[in-house]
């Protein structure tokens, strides 16, 4: 199958502390996945799972410690070697719509800047037409936006504006890092639906990075669940979230409050007190909290195992343990 973007054995190690007490934290640990044309791919997990670091490496804000990003058949894209051909195809949407825009600049300047940078229009008239077209795609118009400052818009509107700006270059992939977590509940779904619409009408793929499994279930085709730097489970969203295989995915899925008062939590959960320990674990990072932990989990990192099209990183499913899986 054709791939838009491939993330190939990506690893990122951060070093914390002073020379004497140095701690190396593997924020992203040997992560591989790919994004296909016109697909919404969710990268989900809790804070500190490495999802944002992965996005930052794809966007070239950070250098990977090892591994590569493959786009248009080219690998080893060191951020400094990336040229217009890369950013033209891949655009980003960030979490905080208020932080995306400089409060002292009118928002249309961002549009004209992008147009100038990528030479998208030959004169001002054509530029305005292009901006208006992209703003209409997100449910706004040039008239509503031009000459106004970011403070005059709501968070939802600003997020739409930043999506419209990203659309200027006709990207094939949008990297959206928690795009709705700061948008009000009553308009959140309109932004989520917008990604769906862009995928259907303009065939834009989306790498949807989120902690919110409910919206991930709603819009994405495939999902990867990350935990402490590893992808623990990856596959079609229906299978991963409705029949989770990895114990961590199960815990995560059960911890999402159902919007139904008849389905309240009854079981108790255990929480970790110290997060560092989990990163530094030798075997499976989830071994300390896993209800089905075995001796092998504490020492040996599990392999990725393919079960019915879902990739699971868990010893329960390795060939000699399969009976315990159910």
């Amino acid at each position: 199958m054709q791939k838009l973007l491939e993330v190939d054995h990506l690893t990122k190690i951060f070093t914390l502390g002073s020379i004497i007490s140095r701690v190396r934290i593997t924020a992203v640990d040997n992560v591989s996945f790919d994004i296909r044309p016109a697909e919404i791919f969710a990268l989900a997990g809790e804070s500190g799972c490495g999802k944002t670091t992965t996005a930052r490496i794809i966007l070239g804000f950070d250098e990977p410690s090892s591994g590569a990003i493959i786009h248009k058949g080219k690998r080893d894209l060191k951020p400094k070697n990336r040229k217009v051909w890369f950013t033209e195809g891949i655009q980003a949407i960030f979490q905080d719509p208020f932080g995306t825009f400089n409060p002292l600049r009118i928002v249309d300047r961002y549009f004209f800047e992008t147009i100038r940078h990528y030479r998208l229009a030959s004169n001002k008239g054509a530029a305005i037409q292009l901006i208006d077209q992209k703003l209409k795609a997100v449910g706004l118009s040039y008239e509503e936006v031009s000459g106004r400052y970011p403070s005059e818009f709501s968070g939802g509107q600003l997020q739409r504006i930043s999506i419209a700006r990203a659309l200027l270059t006709d990207p094939i992939l949008m990297i959206a890092d928690e795009p709705v977590s700061m948008v009000d509940a009553s308009i959140r779904m309109s932004i989520v639906n917008l990604f769906k619409k862009l995928r259907e009408e303009l065939s834009v793929s989306v790498l949807y990075i989120t902690h919110d499994l409910a919206t991930a279930y709603y819009i994405s085709d495939r999902i990867a669940i990350m935990f402490r730097g590893n992808i623990v489970e990856m596959g079609p969203v229906e299978q991963v979230l409705m029949e989770p295989k990895h114990p961590y995915t199960r815990l995560l899925r059960e911890s999402i409050p159902e919007v139904n008062p008849d389905m309240r939590w009854r079981e108790m959960v255990t929480l970790t007190d110290i997060e560092h320990e989990e990163y530094l674990r030798q075997g499976c990072k989830f071994a300390g909290r896993c209800p089905k932990v075995m001796e092998i989990c504490k020492n040996i990192v599990p392999e990725n195992i393919d079960i019915e099209g879902v990739q699971v990183k868990c010893h329960l499913y390795s060939s000699n343990n399969r009976t315990h899986g159910e």
Partner: protein, 335 residues
């Protein structure tokens, strides 16, 4: 069962600001009537900027400029006595706090003093509210309370920065419950926490409520949390409570168009049907539209909605709605 512990009457609290010589009025709490009963979790839901946090400040009696109490009353019920909190002295108010009513503000994870161990925080707290206790007694109370709530005692010897966000949040909740208050107000206690940790915080809140048989006022915009914890829910929009009902009815039979949008737009597992959110944007509290504040976004808007705010109608036991559509129903009575 239905004895009230806290009641408001046509409560109005506005922020009055002086912006470049011009008076700007932000109507954050606008004629709110509510009654919190003994032994219940009362949820207040609504999006950012709807006045939820301001309402809590008013309930707690923590009104400081630029916030002003414009009209209305807040009553506490203490042993069958009704107390108007605007009439009592600051000293009396201070005495009520933590012993009768305690408040866990939003982002309260950062209230813990970073340079002293939690042991000191707990003992400061106990000695300032309970007289005649030695340090040893104070530690005993703190340790007993933490064990009861299933928190590790070793955290007393930790500094706040050594704890995870979820643990800090649970410690502040444990502090708020320390003196067994009758009412605990929690403002967005689960926001900014991971889902698994959220679940731990919810567990703790439920546990405290069950143990103390008190009332918890839980403010959160997360409807999943509300569904899981609250017994009754009030939906707030633009400074007003537009609907109030039992949790089952809010989720099963929402009546106000805003509540319906809010409930129906929630994504659910196993159901990929398209979800629509309410059109438009919430109004600014400083520039409220005439009539019902939801009318510019409401698909069922009529002439009267644009001119007059509807009364609150009682449609069933425990179910109140402020909407003109309901006024036309036969079973509706004004409250």
């Amino acid at each position: 069962m239905n004895t009230p512990v806290l009641k408001t009457e046509k409560l109005k609290a506005y922020y009055v600001l002086d912006v470049h010589g011009e008076l700007k009025v932000v109507k954050a709490v606008n004629e709110v009537d509510l009654e919190i009963r003994a032994n219940e979790v009362y949820g207040i839901a609504g999006e950012s900027g709807c006045g939820k946090s301001t309402l809590l400040k008013a309930l707690y009696g923590a009104i400081e400029p630029p916030l002003r109490l414009i009209a209305g009353k807040v009553y506490y019920f203490i042993e069958d006595k009704q107390l108007d909190i605007s009439k009592i002295s600051a000293e009396e108010k201070r005495k009520l706090r933590w012993e009768h009513i305690s408040y866990v503000p939003q982002g309260s994870m950062s209230v813990l003093n970073p340079v002293i161990k939690l042991r000191e925080t707990f003992s400061d707290f106990i000695s300032s509210h309970v007289s005649g206790k030695t340090k040893g007694d104070a530690f005993e109370i703190a340790e007993g309370r933490l064990t009861e709530l299933g928190l590790p005692i070793k955290i007393l010897d930790a500094y706040p920065h050594q704890l995870s966000g979820g643990m800090k949040q649970r410690v502040t909740i444990a502090l708020a419950a320390l003196l067994k208050p009758r009412i605990i107000i929690c403002d967005e206690p689960t926001t900014a926490l991971d889902v698994v940790v959220q679940r731990g915080v919810v567990q703790l809140l439920k546990d405290i409520q069950k143990r103390l048989e008190n009332s918890i006022i839980l403010v959160t915009h997360d409807m999943g949390i509300q569904a899981n914890v609250a017994d009754r829910i009030a939906i707030m929009y633009a400074g007003k409570i537009v609907e109030e009902a039992s949790t089952e009815r809010i989720f099963g039979e929402p009546l106000h168009p805003y509540t319906r949008y809010l409930i129906n737009s929630l994504p659910r597992f196993g159901d990929k049907a398209p979800r629509e959110s309410a059109p438009g944007n919430p109004p600014l509290l400083s520039r409220l539209p005439e009539g019902c504040p939801f009318h510019p976004r409401c698909p069922y808007v009529t002439e009267i909605c644009k001119q007059q705010m509807p009364d609150t109608y009682v449609v069933d036991v425990n179910h109140k709605v402020a909407c003109w559509l309901i006024a036309e129903r036969e079973d509706a009575k004004t409250s």
